[in-house]
């Protein structure tokens, strides 16, 4: 198995607060890795550091053999890391199709003059891109909503559209930040199947932050548990479930109880 993402000793400090403390993880190609932990454990901070929104205080991030530690967010995305956001961030005034269209901009490799003069090349690339986007939205089950405003979609569809937008980048690695947030048990079951399907179809590696334990336990091959920025456990779902430190972090330790 090939390593796709390798994070070593990642540290992020905000002033005196250590949001991520010496975090290390290695993702193998084609696996789903879970990141869990109580609120404020630093899960989203890790996402934001991988994607370049935050500059790490220390440590390295390697993606497909390339160092991406201090890259800008758009450079990280161009390397092939797509992401979704915990609080949905769609281009809400724009249509569903446009949301995906925008994310496919790297496939539209014409220059400014071709666009302004409407050269042949422009038309061809745009048509090809549009067809690809519609195809992608079909796979995600949003093809009957192409011209609807993204902001007016129901919540579940907005989540799906965010995933569609991330997939339009043709990522190798997909970072999902609480994809099951606000979903009930049935919906999250559906989501698990949906993610598995996408993973196979697009040959993805997935790193996800999630609070729904049933989702995490059923989909992730390996899980990392964080608490106050520190990694307190890493292993398979079984190992995590029986880990004493994890139980303490979630339910409170003996000395923390009083």
């Amino acid at each position: 198995m090939k390593e796709i993402l390798k994070i070593a000793n990642l540290t992020k400090k905000f002033g005196g607060v250590c949001a991520i403390d010496n975090f290390s993880v290695t993702l193998e190609e084609g696996t789903v890795h879970g990141l869990i932990g109580p609120n404020g454990a630093g899960k989203t901070t890790i996402f934001n550091t991988i994607t370049g929104i935050y500059k790490p205080t220390g440590g390295t991030i390697e993606f497909m053999g390339k160092d991406i530690t201090n890259k800008k967010p758009y450079q990280v995305a161009q390397q092939g890391i797509g992401r979704t956001f915990q609080n949905i961030r769609l281009f809400s005034q724009l249509s569903v199709l446009e949301n995906v269209f925008i994310a496919g901009h790297m496939d539209a490799d014409y220059d400014l003059f071709a666009a302004i003069l409407r050269l042949n090349k422009f038309g061809k690339k745009e048509k090809y891109l549009r067809e690809n986007c519609i195809e992608l939205l079909k796979i995600l089950g949003l093809s009957d909503k192409l011209n609807e405003k993204a902001g007016s979609l129901p919540y579940g569809h907005q989540r799906k559209l965010e995933i569609a937008r991330a997939l339009a980048l043709r990522p190798k690695l997909l970072l999902l930040d609480e994809p099951a947030a606000g979903m009930n048990r049935d919906e999250s079951k559906e989501l698990v199947e949906f993610i598995n399907e996408l993973k196979e179809k697009f040959k993805l590696t997935i790193l996800m932050v999630e609070h729904h334990m049933d989702v995490v336990m059923s989909i992730c091959r390996r899980i990392t548990v964080l608490n106050f920025g520190k990694t307190i456990a890493e292993g398979t779902a079984k190992e995590i479930q029986t880990n004493k430190l994890v139980r303490e972090a979630y339910l409170g330790g003996e000395d923390a109880a009083c």
Binding site: I53, F91, Q93, L94, E98, I102, H105
Partner: protein, 294 residues
């Protein structure tokens, strides 16, 4: 056609070009600028100097004015585009005023506050019409390509735009420079129509007028900008007796539009054949909504 009507059409055309620039910047990229009159001034003075002091043909002067505005926007953008919303706005405001004052100080080159006279009248109705057609076509083609989509992405959600691999700094710069080129273009046409320019013509009033026109026309709509410019340029001509209260009227219009119709006349929509066809349905729907509310 009488000279007066021709003059009004030329003025509308020049304003449309300047407003389109602001429309791209504000309506499609959500970068508010109160300094575009500064770029107009740069275009006007640069082209006027090229025509009078270097005896350049009009086309070269025109391009020279646009190029000058573009270069300055590149340098300014490098410094200021990293700033967030309101901070960027304040720097454009400062830039506009600096440009005006600087032109006043550079007396030997620009004629200072007395103005720059003796520019030959080269801007004709035909040139303005061609310019407007060209400006609209270029803006439309630009906005309906990946470039325009990337700008809209920045407008809607900058962090998400970054996350899908859009170099937001580069595209903001693109928007800013295109906007400056349009302003420079309008300025050069303006100088060669009125034959006499003073720095006071390109003051904060002019900048706010451009931005207000875009807001009234509706953010994110080129046709809205064109319609608003036409109406707002015509109104003081038609209502000559109250023309002095123009800025007062603008102020009231902006307050009314932002409270009653925050998207402006045409917010996020373009006027097209299908839009007109669907108009009765939309109106009916609007009334139905009203009834339901009632």
């Amino acid at each position: 056609m009488s000279g007066y009507v021709e003059g009004v059409i030329i003025l509308i055309g020049i304003n449309i070009i300047a407003v389109l620039g602001v429309s791209i910047l504000t309506g499609f990229t959500r970068l508010f600028s109160f300094g575009n009159a500064g770029f107009m001034a740069i275009g006007a003075y640069a082209s006027a100097i090229l025509t009078t002091k270097f005896n350049m043909p009009f086309l070269i002067s025109l391009l020279g004015g646009m190029l000058m505005a573009a270069l300055i926007s590149l340098a300014l953008g490098k410094l200021t585009l990293g700033l967030k919303g309101d901070y960027f706005l304040i720097t454009t405001l400062g830039f506009g005023e600096c440009t005006r004052v600087l032109i006043e100080f550079l007396d030997p080159i620009t004629g200072g506050a007395r103005g720059y006279a003796g520019i030959p009248q080269k801007t004709t109705l035909l040139i303005v019409l061609i310019s407007v057609a060209l400006a609209i076509t270029v803006a439309r083609n630009l906005l309906n390509s990946k470039y325009g989509r990337n700008l809209k992405a920045i407008r809607e959600q900058e962090i998400a735009a970054d996350a899908v691999g859009i170099d937001t700094a580069r595209f903001k710069q693109l928007s800013f420079t295109v906007s400056a080129i349009y302003a420079g273009w309008a300025g050069a046409l303006f100088a060669h129509y009125y034959m006499f320019i003073t720095p006071a013509m390109f003051n904060l009033d002019k900048s706010s007028e451009l931005t207000i026109t875009v807001v009234i026309g509706g953010l994110g709509s080129l046709t809205g900008s064109v319609i608003a410019t036409t109406v707002l340029t015509l109104l003081p001509e038609v209502l000559r007796s109250v023309a002095n209260y123009r800025m007062l009227f603008y102020g009231i219009a902006v307050v009314l539009i932002i409270t009653l119709r925050p998207n402006g006349l045409m917010g996020y929509k373009e006027l097209s054949a299908s839009w007109i066809k669907n108009l009765p349905i939309q109106v009916r729907r609007m009334f139905r909504c009203r009834k339901e509310v009632a």
